[in-house]
């Protein structure tokens, strides 16, 4: 019984870690996208 609860806790923690990693990946992708649009705009406005 105790072992079951311990393994459930471990898998719950693993899921939370995966969700956190996905959140960070999404944040990084959105930040990179915003930066990319900004840089494209600078280059295009500069006549590049």
């Amino acid at each position: 019984m105790k072992q079951d609860r311990a393994s459930q806790g471990r898998s719950g923690e693993a899921l939370r870690q995966r969700q956190r990693a996905k959140n960070w990946a999404m944040f990084a992708a959105l930040a990179a996208f915003a930066l990319l649009i900004y840089l494209i705009a600078i280059v295009r406005m500069g006549g590049g």
Partner: protein, 316 residues
């Protein structure tokens, strides 16, 4: 879509839990190994073009080609989830394993596809964006949905989707489609059948189980090997086209002769060998062959590009 393996699909559905998906699972949906060759050939098309865009815009073009390739892969995995569950080579993919929901993979692919086309259009030009969209649509609708499960010519016609990247790279740089970029398109188009059939020869059982009518399944190994030989012979002069068209020098021409000769030799070995060994070797060699040809094209242009880059006139 045919209902090939309901038991596998049901098992995947039972395991389905989108929170179980990791970042790696989403990256796996993008078919990174396929992406590497697509990106490399797209980059080559961009570099060998007579006009060079700003380095940042060139990088954006390559990024868009990479993302579009990944998006096509994700949509392909969504549609092919039933046969992926049956085949040894693909059963560990995130959807048949139940780590990513099918609809989630579809949405992921569609968002990336639209995003890559839009950014290509905004950053470079709308011809390149149109070609990128055509490549995605061709891969999804013509190859994956229409041809793959219907005809042994699936990868002959469907191979056009994979042949687009150098043309897209060229169009991103010049804003045009020209005879040089069509030559690069034809090179990959003619390379695709012997490349895929080498794989299909030693995975024929897998394809048969999944009900995919690949050439070795439908016409048998002997007929497939003959066609592979014909395609490698036809590829030989096409690989010399960049040299004839002045896109590359004599070094490229000599290397294309040598590499093409070895490709024909590999096809002859497959023809003479009844075991899988030579087909496996030919598959590996075919990847090396295309990488080497495009690497030579890039290297041929590098001496001219490097001084431009160093003195700041690159992209001017």
């Amino acid at each position: 879509m045919t209902d090939i393996a309901p038991s596998f699909v049901t098992a995947a559905a039972e395991r389905r839990d989108s929170t179980a998906a990791s970042v790696g699972d989403y990256l796996q949906l993008l078919k990174p190994r396929v992406m590497s060759l697509v990106v490399f050939s797209g980059f080559a098309g961009l570099v060998v073009a007579p006009v060079q865009p700003h380095p940042l815009l060139a990088a954006v073009a390559v990024l868009c080609i990479a993302i579009a390739s990944g998006a096509s892969g994700a949509i392909n995995m969504w549609y092919d989830r039933d046969i992926d569950a049956v085949m040894q080579r693909t059963r560990n993919r995130p959807i048949p394993q139940g780590r990513v929901e099918a609809e989630e993979a579809l949405a992921f692919g569609v968002v990336l596809a639209i995003g890559s086309v839009a950014i290509m259009g905004i950053a470079l030009n709308w011809l390149a964006a149109g070609l990128l969209a055509a490549a995605i649509l061709f891969y999804v609708f013509v190859y994956t949905i229409w041809l793959k499960r219907r005809t042994p010519q699936n990868i002959v016609i469907g191979g056009a989707a994979g042949a687009f990247p150098p043309m897209i790279g060229w169009a991103a740089a010049t804003g045009q489609v020209s005879i040089e970029s069509i030559a690069l398109f034809l090179l990959i188009f003619m390379w695709t059948p012997p490349h895929f059939w080498a794989l299909a020869l030693y995975r024929a059982g897998d394809y048969e189980k999944a009900g995919v009518p690949m050439m070795p399944v439908v016409a048998g190994a002997r007929a497939t090997k003959l066609q592979m030989l014909i395609y490698t012979v036809l590829l030989f002069p096409l690989a010399l086209a960049p040299w004839f068209l002045g896109m590359a020098g004599a070094l490229y021409g000599a290397a294309a002769v040598l590499l093409g000769g070895l490709f024909i030799l590999a096809a002859l070995r497959v023809w003479a060998d009844d075991s899988d060994r030579s087909a496996r070797k030919m598959f590996a060699y075919s990847i090396f062959y295309l990488f080497a040809l495009f690497a030579l094209l890039i290297l041929d242009r590098a001496p001219g590009l490097l001084p431009q880059f160093l003195n700041g006139s690159f992209g001017a």
